[in-house]
Amino acid sequence: MAHLVVTNKFDMAKLPLEPGEKILMTFRRHWIVYFLDALVLFILFLLPYTIFRLLGLGGSEGIITNSSLHLATFFYTAWFILLWAYFFIVWTNAYLDAWIVTDRRIIDIEQQSLFHRTVSDFRIEKIQNIMVKEKGLIANMFGYGTIVVETAGERIILEFDTIPHPYKVRDLISECHDKCLAKLSQNGIGGQIRDIITEG
């Protein structure tokens, strides 16, 4: 039976690893996620100035004079600070998403919004299928994609978007899976696990 735990942020604030459990790798989202967010906000930052120029309000015969320059600086700086703070909210939401691969489990942490955090995990020996999706020209160019891991039995699916080097991650998980099964075989319970996977 596949093991899935979904807990709230307070239970899993500090990942409670089992005794002897080692973290092999931690994956976060590809930098392109942050870049695209930053690009959108940069365009928004330039928007008031562009509108201002398009309406012809800032030319040599425009209305910006020394007396009103301070006021324009005030409003533009306020606009910039709001965008700056918003960027860090978005960045924090994306950066706190993580996939942690240990020698026993895969832990998926999703920061869906600032006050909505989900942590799920399942044991690595339950994995039945690992799928890598690289969709689109940009994903292929920059080497990021989606990894989907399916478990046997209850058909639990874990999905992680925009992960860098998805094929390497898949290889690492496969390697851990094989080692885990070999270890369990030595302990005499590998056959039961294989039965579960075959049934799934």
Partner: protein
């Protein structure tokens, strides 16, 4: 002024006048009020961000870098805001 500009409807020219008027006659008290509201909003956002950074990203290099960068720019931004308002007075 080109041909298009001479044929602008009155409403656009009116906008120009209103905007000019707005930039030269906004009361300072209102601007200090706006600054206060902005301070409250950014203060709240900063508390929430620090809460997440310290709770889930403690000792992470990227998070520390983000903390420093965010705080510095916000502080400089508020200094510019206060400076521009003081000069406007």
């Amino acid at each position: 002024m080109n041909q298009f500009a001479t044929q602008l409807p009155d409403s656009v020219q009116g906008l120009n006048f209103s905007f000019s008027s707005f930039l030269t006659s906004t009361p300072v008290n209102i601007l200090w009020g706006i600054l206060g509201v902005l301070g409250i909003i950014i203060g709240g956002v900063t508390i929430v961000l620090y809460y997440h950074w310290l709770r889930y990203g403690f000792r992470d290099r990227m998070v520390i870098f983000a903390q420093v960068l965010y705080t510095l720019i916000v502080l400089v931004g508020f200094i510019v805001l206060i400076g521009s308002l003081s000069s406007y007075e």
